[in-house]
């Protein structure tokens, strides 16, 4: 027995944890992972509500999101590597050349 309210609650909590992680973490990689959490939370919603309505729409969307997540991680990691080569670390607080 799965209550939609419960699913919604879990997905929202997952999303909030992702947001919080982006807010408080300083390692670019961890921030990237937290963003993945946010995407996962959305996926949970898609799957659950597709299930509820009995259609496949949401599922297909969720699968495409997975594909997109992979692409995003690839770009993110490439940027992290480039940054690391240039600066020697990946702490986001040290990205501060540009301001004002």
């Amino acid at each position: 027995m799965v209550s939609m309210n419960a699913v919604l609650l879990i997905s929202f909590l997952l999303w909030s944890v992702g947001v919080a992680g982006v807010l408080i973490r300083r390692n670019a990689l961890v921030i990237l992972m937290c963003v993945e959490l946010m995407l996962n939370a959305a996926n949970l919603n898609f799957i659950a509500f597709a299930r509820m309505s009995g259609t496949v729409h949401g599922q297909a969307f969720a699968l495409l999101v997975m594909g997109f997540a992979a692409a995003e991680v690839a770009v993110g990691l490439a940027l992290v590597v480039a940054l690391y080569r240039k600066k020697g670390n990946i702490q986001v607080d040290e990205i501060n050349l540009l301001k004002g």
């Binding site: 982006v22 807010l23 986001v92 607080d93 990205i95 501060n96």
Partner: protein, 635 residues
């Protein structure tokens, strides 16, 4: 055939394009010919169109050249309107421009950026004519902002000097502030009437009842008035005008005395049927105008720079015009625009001639005795001075007196303010003339080299002087047996075909008495100023030693001077100085210019502080943004 009216604004534009693009290569001669020629041609065309308009039914030509903007609910035609109001203004603008262009040929002869100067000046004429002739508010607005832009460019023309660029920027920003009001007013009118064509708005306004209390219409007209205060240098936006004197003198004469600064008055006259629906706005206009007239006149008493005196005098005269408008005397206000254009342009050009002769010396206290050296300048300026003093027979008298009379009908307090301002005007003008032309030369070196200006400069002076005398006879008040013809002439434009009670033209009761008082006061103060400054103090002392018999009289006179100096002039001067300090230095430079600057700078610093460059702070700001939006949703 009247359709060729489009040539009137386009000709100066062609001149401007020529001077701007190939002027430098073409040489000064070609620039002069094109620059002056196009404006003269424009004047001749204007003259022709003017007479065509006079013959047209209803004294009105509506020339539509096509649709300018058309979309959805908004249709703005592209066209010109020539009626008595815009026709007269058009003649004034092209006529005086032509003279001043001619004058500039002599005045600017040795300047480096000759072609650039004429390019800007021609461009200004184009925009001014767009403003005057445009048949829709957007077209008027294009001209409105365009003249501001040209004014900015021309003030900053001499960018080698320290003050000119700053003055240009100040003028532009003050103008922009006003223009914003203008834009808001325009939008409000659009919301109200659903059209931006001036004719349609006035037609609709003719069927409306006067607005009681503070409604949308009052808001709209007040906003338009804010625009007018910016362009026409009224409280609180007047301060750019004295600074604008950093520009070349012909520019001051054309833009900052005769034409651009009167566009605020012109705009209000153009929309007279709308403005007369809103009593609150009208009262505001009258008081702002009256107070500006007084304030500027008192400040004018203590200025030493010849152009600054004239600048404050312009502000003060503009105040008069608004006083007239606010007292429901649209015709009177516009009449003053008309006469003022002549004599103030003349004064400025005269001053320019003096400055030219004195090698760019502008301090009155270092002039003196120039009467012999510059006879033409002296006599023509004297005429203008008599005009602005309001001496009967000269043009200023007719228009000023009509305004004062209407102000009296509106409120005796306004009349009193106007009268005091008139006295101050008479005094400082007499002082200016006496200091510059009479007495001993105070700077003998410059005096030696002073000489009358070339023909291209004196000819405009003479023409303007004739105009200044004649202009007044167009509106001889009824009380003197005239018909105040100007009102009748402008009526189709001002009431827009809707019969209206003639508020200000019925002269009864105190009219004659008021006129007597104001003439006597003006003449008295004029003579007083004249006698006070005619000889300077050294001369009076020497005389006293030579003729002991006359000593008592002179002493008495001196005593009188002292008395007046101590009890009348000094407080007034002090007051003027205080006002000048208060408004110019503290309020405007301090609060008006620097405070917004400082505020925005602080705000800018604050935003820069927020822009830390740290990703997490940015995320936080996004989160907080979401929070605020959530709060709005859920409250």
């Amino acid at each position: 055939m009247q359709k060729i009216a489009w040539l009137i604004p386009i000709l100066p534009l062609i001149g401007s394009a020529f001077n701007g693009l190939i002027g430098k290569k073409a040489g000064k001669k070609a620039v002069s010919i094109v620059g002056v020629g196009t404006v003269v041609a424009s004047f001749l065309t204007a003259l022709w169109v003017f007479f065509a308009m006079k013959d047209a039914p209803g004294h009105r030509l509506d020339l539509i050249y096509g649709t300018w903007m058309a979309t959805g609910s908004l249709t703005v035609p592209f066209g010109l309107t020539i009626d008595p109001l815009s026709g007269t203004m058009m003649l004034v603008v092209t006529g005086i421009s032509a003279l001043i262009h001619l004058y500039s040929v002599g005045y600017m002869a040795e300047e480096e950026g000759y072609a650039r100067y004429f390019c800007y000046l021609n461009l200004f004429v184009f925009f001014m004519l767009t403003l005057v002739l445009g048949n829709s508010l957007p077209l008027l607005f294009v001209g409105w902002e365009g003249v501001g832009l040209c004014s900015y460019l021309l003030i900053g023309y001499a960018f080698e000097t320290e003050t000119a660029p700053a003055a240009g920027l100040k003028a532009f920003l003050f103008n922009r502030t006003g223009d914003m009001g203008m834009a808001i007013g325009m939008m409000a009118l659009f919301a109200l009437f659903g059209t931006l064509t001036i004719g349609d708005i006035l037609n609709q306004a003719g069927h409306m009842q006067a607005e009681v209390g503070f409604g949308v219409l009052t808001f709209a007209t007040l906003m338009l008035f804010v625009g007018a205060t910016g362009k026409s240098a009224q409280i609180p936006l007047y301060l750019w005008l004295p600074d604008a004197m950093a520009g070349p003198t012909p520019v001051s004469a054309l833009i900052h005395a005769a034409t651009m600064v009167t566009s605020g008055i012109y705009m209000i006259c153009r929309l007279a049927p709308v403005f007369s629906l809103t009593p609150i706005t009208m009262t505001t206009i009258a008081w702002v105008g009256g107070l500006t007239a007084l304030l500027a006149a008192t400040i004018g008493l203590v200025q030493r720079d010849i152009k600054k005196v004239l600048a404050y005098s312009t502000v003060s005269q503009l105040g008069y015009m608004f006083l007239g408008l606010g007292s429901a005397g649209f015709a009177a206000g516009f009449f003053h625009v008309f006469t003022h254009a002549w004599f103030k342009a003349l004064l400025f050009l005269g001053a320019g001639s003096v400055i030219h002769a004195m090698h760019h010396e502008q301090d009155l206290f270092r002039m003196g005795g120039l009467k012999e050296k510059l006879p033409i300048t002296f006599w023509t300026m004297l005429i203008a001075t008599l005009c602005i003093m309001g001496i009967p027979g000269f043009s200023g008298f007719f228009s000023k007196d009509e305004i004062l009379y209407l102000a009296f009908l509106k409120s005796p307090a306004l009349w009193a303010i106007g009268l005091v301002a008139a006295c101050c005007t008479a005094f400082y003008m007499a002082r200016l003339m006496a200091l510059a032309f009479l007495g001993e030369p105070r700077d003998s070196h410059a005096y030696e080299h002073a000489h009358e200006a070339p023909m291209t400069m004196t000819l405009p002076l003479v023409v303007l002087a004739v105009g200044a005398v004649v202009a007044g006879f167009w509106g001889i008040p009824k009380v003197l047996g005239g018909t105040f013809a100007v009102e009748h002439w402008l009526e189709p434009a001002l009431t827009y075909g809707h019969a209206e009670a003639e508020a200000g033209s019925v002269h009864e009761g105190p009219a004659m008495m008021l006129m007597g008082i104001s003439v006597a006061a003006a003449a008295g103060f004029g003579l007083f100023g004249w006698s006070l400054y005619k000889n300077g103090t050294e001369k009076s002392e020497r005389l006293a030693a030579k003729f002991p018999g006359a000593h008592t009289i002179l002493l008495n006179k001196y005593f009188l001077d002292e008395l007046v100096e101590g009890y009348l002039l000094r407080p007034t001067r002090w007051f003027g100085n205080v006002l000048w300090k208060l408004f110019d230095v503290i309020i405007i430079d301090g609060i008006g210019v620097n405070l917004p600057g400082a505020l925005t700078r602080v705000a800018g610093d604050f935003t820069a502080l927020l822009q830390t460059g740290r990703v997490r702070n940015y995320v936080l700001s996004m989160g907080l943004g979401v929070l605020v939006l959530l709060y709005i949703f859920l409250k």
